[in-house]
């Protein structure tokens, strides 16, 4: 079992309830996409799994242990085995790409090695390899403030690929990428999970991308899991109910070649944004 959530609830210090009664588990090497309207609690769920938030109710187990019962040292080692791709890449603009990628292993490196690597990058080849998987090898020695938003997001992904965690989490990892690049980036995450046996959990905005790459789909709304099903069993009705608050259009990447099961192909009316939303007259 890579992780195990039992009736987990979370109330933020400001009183806002983000999660309620979430029970979810995943076996090693499993790949699941978390979908749902914005504000559904997807990010909070991932941060719980990343041991970045402690639940208010229920129990969280990750990588076969209870993180919140560990000593500080053990928790640090535990966290080093969990990697998170953030939606907004948490990379200072003045950092060079190579440094930003190598920072992925700071949890495994000694402080001495971390400091030496600032003077001279300690694993240039390793950084180049992961960047190549995302078509960015030529930007290795550029500063991050020279990159476009989409390139920076891929550097954030490369950092976590370099970390090579046992639990790979991704929070809207391709929100700044165009459909082709987004597809490639998700492919890289999936390939990493296949190669290393890591469990992959990604929250995705585009439903078609989720259905294409992930065998298991978890639908969330208002802090609760609405459905948890194999991708082949997700129906149009389930998706429409999930996104009921966002109007009658399902969020997709909207490029050809990805068909939703039981849904008309993109371009045949599904992606036309209604000019008048129901209930707004």
């Amino acid at each position: 079992m890579t992780f195990q959530l039992e009736r987990v609830g979370l109330v933020h210090p400001n009183g806002h309830r983000a999660l309620q009664g979430v029970t979810l588990m995943a076996a090693a090497g499993e790949r699941m996409a978390v979908i749902g309207p914005s504000g559904a609690g997807k990010t909070t769920l991932l941060r719980l799994l990343a041991c970045g938030l402690q639940p208010t109710e229920g129990r969280v187990g990750t990588l076969g242990a209870s993180p919140w019962q560990m000593s500080a040292r053990a928790l640090r080692q535990h966290r080093a085995r969990i990697g998170m791709v953030h939606q907004a890449p948490p990379i200072p603009p003045r950092l060079r790409v190579v440094t930003a990628v190598l920072a992925g292993r700071l949890g495994a490196w000694s402080t001495g090695r971390a400091l030496r690597s600032l003077l001279y990058p300690s694993d240039i080849q390793g950084a180049r390899d992961v960047l190549a998987r995302l078509d960015l090898a030529d930007r290795l020695f550029d500063r991050c403030d020279r990159l476009s938003g989409g390139q920076l997001q891929r550097v954030g992904i490369a950092r976590v690929l370099y970390q090579a965690p046992a639990l790979l989490l991704a929070d809207e990892p391709v929100s700044a990428l165009d459909p082709t690049l987004a597809d490639e980036a998700v492919r890289a995450l999936v390939a990493q999970s296949e190669a290393s046996g890591a469990t992959l959990v990604a929250s995705l905005h585009a439903v078609d991308l989720a259905l294409k790459w992930f065998p298991r789909i978890v639908g969330m709304r208002a802090g609760a899991v609405v459905f948890d099903a194999p991708a082949s069993e997700v129906t149009r009705a389930m998706l429409h109910e999930l996104y009921a608050t966002e109007g009658s259009v399902l969020p997709t990447q909207g490029h050809d070649g990805v068909a939703l099961p039981g849904l008309p192909a993109p371009g045949s009316g599904l992606n036309v944004v209604p000019l008048v939303r129901p209930g707004c007259r």
Partner: protein, 282 residues
Amino acid sequence: MSAALRPALLDEAQHDPQAKARLGALLLALVVLWPLAQLAEFRPWLLFDGANLKVMGNFLAGFLPPATNAEFLGLLLKATLETLAMATAGIALAFVLALPLAFVMTQSLSVSRIGPGPGRWRSLAARAAVRALLTLLRAIPEVVWALVLVRALGLGPAAGVLALAITYGGMLGKVYAEILESSDTRPARALLEAGSGRIAALCYGLLPAAAQELASYTVYRWECAVRASVVMGFVGAGGLGQLMDQSMKMLNGGEASSILLMFLALVLLADALSAGLRKLLA
């Protein structure tokens, strides 16, 4: 929803809800400042009174021309070097003192805050203790430390160096921690959440964004240390201040103005140094 149906609601929506609070704060500031100005005997119009202008004019006229005789310039050069050495050594010591304290105090480098996790109370206590220590260090003005230390170490720059190190260590530590916390803290947090150590999180997550501010504040403090050495010179801690003290006691305005010109040059030097460092770190 049409505007005609709900005019009251829309009217409400078009008002800035914070406007009243801002007006209140402005009035409160005036109410507080007025008695303070009275208490501080703040009467700027006295400056432009005819008799006062004449007295000030006579005093300033004594400053001209600046003294340029070779013997005094030699003294001035020696005192300048002494002041520079005192300020630089003082800031260097202050930096060594401030660095670990700021590192302990910076909240965004706290691992136990994530979650919150184990060791939360211990780390809160450590940060509070360091905060108290930094307050204590900088609460006592450097000139008081200098007065005390001159008695222990004798007349000369050594007392000034230590006095600067103590007070400025407290200031640097506090402001370093505040600069580190006011820059973008998400990179450091993301690194800590991925198991990175605190020192690595500081160097990879916080310093790249904060280095410029930290450098220019440190240089600014060095500039302040050069100025502070004047006051400390008055109590016998050497340097330009001691020279100034002697010139003023002998009512030698020319010498005093030469010393002031030297200060101007030093401040310009600090400015150029700061600009250069900022460019280097940009």
